[in-house]
Amino acid sequence: MVFYKTIVRLLFGLIITVNLSAQEISIVLKGAKIITISGEPIKDAVMIIQNGKIQSLGSLGEIEIPSDAEIIDASGKVIMPGLVDTHSHIGEGDGGDKSSTTHPDVRILDAIDPKSDTFKKAIAGGITTVNVMPGSGHLMGGQTVYLKLRKDANTINDMLFCDDVLNDICGGLKMANGTNSLGKSPFTGTRSKSAAVIRQLFIKAQEYQKKIIDANGDEDKMPKRDIEMEALVEVLEGKRIVQHHTHRADDIMTVLRLKEEFGFKVVLHHVSEGWKVAKEIAEANVPCSIIMIDSPGGKLEAVNLIYKTGAELEKAGVDVAFHTDDWINDSRLFIRSAAFGVRAGMSEEKALESLTLAGARMLGLEERIGSLESGKDADFIILSGDPFSIYTNVEQTWVEGEKVFDLSNPDDYKYHTGGYEIYRGDFQYTHSCGGDQ
């Protein structure tokens, strides 16, 4: 198996090399203010991209511009990395069904429609990477998938981050606690039961993991293949990140206990009452992917949701990203969430990072995306001005060196506004496959 994978990778590498020799001409973006995230913003910047990667960037005059390059004048504009949405329900996927409250075996990538118009909302909003998640109606809703919103994606394979859909880990594991997943059997009826079910399942996975270790490569001694257990072993090994829906302060503490007991990597999602336990979250060194909602309420766990969650977590030293939770928040308005973070006291630097690099870290993709640095994927957006002004538009969205959204093109403009039969509006994400909510 390992041998086969190596061959595939070698071949893959070869193809890339061939591609490289058939060099695309480089594209130069000139004159914009570039917010790199990883360093200080660069005024009058130059960014050179080639073969989907950032080749170099720096101040005008500092960087040599190739003579045959295509030059785009971006004077007066602001360029920042493509946005990373750590929690979304676009793509019309689903997740686990009502047969159980735990579905570590279920992959949302088996259900996503790459042609869904909901992806148009995301690119119109400047999102280039998205973690598409099953809902929160289960304790374990299924495996999430990390997608790149590439131009003309035809199949799910065209959107994946992972190279090998059959063997690689292509996303995280969605978990939830609190009220959304509560319900009649086979769902759990109380919070402590929920925690017990999860602990029992991970203990089972630990035993499965031990059998694999004990087999020491001997095929005959390996346990029978169990795709639920396999996914959970990936979690135990820290290779698959738990993306955990949780609202109330006590539910957050429950997740921290589980993390401590089983040692998995976890990102806390929504975290409505995170501001109440910011210190504890910081001490556990767990990042938070948070939601901004115009008003509190609508469900018991969100009654204490406030605009200042981001600011409070930042103050406590917690790594913070925002997410849309689309359809809860419209992907076109993703930047607005971080702007409200600033309104409530977040630093602009952290707020910008919370839309980009912080999210990339939470998906384990920070080596490839989230900041503008040479060698990273050429995923960026061109803004008409200050990112946190309501009057600023996402004018262009680029993914891996290709323009996927252009506001000046009427075919794209319509996705910016909506209107008659622009969006089908027939996919309204609900959590109805699971518990009571």
Binding site: G298, K299, A339, S389, I390, E421, R424, G425
Partner: protein, 417 residues
Amino acid sequence: MKNRSPLRLPLRGREILFSLMILTVCFTLNVNLNAQLAVKGKTVYTMAGEPIQNGIILIKNNKIEQVGNENQITIPAGYKIIEGNIITPGLIDAHTVVGLSGIYNYNHDQEQLEKSDAIQPELRAIDAYNKADKLVDFLLSLGVTTIHTGHAPGALASGQTMIVKTYSESFTDYVIDSVSMVAFTLGNSVKSNYEKPGTRSKGVAMLRQEFFKAIEYGEKINKNKNDESPARDLKMETLLKVLDGELPALFSVNRAVDIMAALRLAEEFKFKLVLDGVAEAYLVINELRKINYPIILHPTMVRAYGDYKNASFETAANLYKEGFKFALQSGYESYVPKTRVVLFEAAMANAYGLPFENALASITIDAAEFLGISDRVGSLEPGKDADIVIFDNNPFEYTSHVCKVIVNGKVVKEECF
């Protein structure tokens, strides 16, 4: 105590304390009534004429006394001065369900829709409105001082709306208008709430039949005068008020087909129509132009699903370009968020092409005019209620704050939010 005359009023300690408390309350009320404030702002959007640079608003006895430039107005002695950057009138949400649809999503906190029957115009918002709901105070902290609230869209006739202030000190003082309009809905949302009607056209048929019954009911009353009047029927009485033009009919209609049905009903029954939602207004502009009914437009950021599926961020701007005046609303949200905020909806309309002052008008003076309360609120003019919002910056910018809210001349919010 021993020699107390039976004629003397027994003044024991507790009662003395009580009397003192009453006195204190009276004194406080008195102070409040006579509170004299001078609000100074770099830019004052009065919504009655051009904005005033370096403006001053004098407030006396809960009302606005004078508004003008600092060169025109001398602040009299004894006036407490409050300063700010951008000043607007208290904001008005032209249609919401806040106070009926409570912040908690369990049934006992949800009064916005009675599902026993699709036609119940006799239900009054005032009988369900919870002024203590946290969302009421939440809206106040974002400068929304007046709301037109009631039952949610989703029933053919859901009930009678009301207009209230979001700040109150008693259980009666918040009401501006206890019965404002009767709320109707056409479209898919009705189908999903009731077995009957099961279709759009059945819904219209049911309403028409009910209006004819009301006409008959009215005729009986007129014919028989006092002797043999029909038994009182609250439903019929309410519909009669609609037919008589005493109460406007607020029709929540979003698809073009539903807008047209509402126009037909208004033509047939000659009621005062107020159009609500109208997500597809841009498809029927010419029809809307024939009779200029008031429009309370859907929230700019309404989720584009169901009957709203063709909603556009630009509809407000397009209606403006076509010459229509409209108010904006926060609408109805059943889940997270539990309410929208008209300040943010107007901001987004502005960002998507509606000029700044028209966006502000849609949540102040234009809303007040459509709701028939412009004699009291909606602009900063002498004689009107002293409802004022102070912003630290452009009210529509994401990162600006509402720093003070004044209702009836009283500063009720002082923290920048």
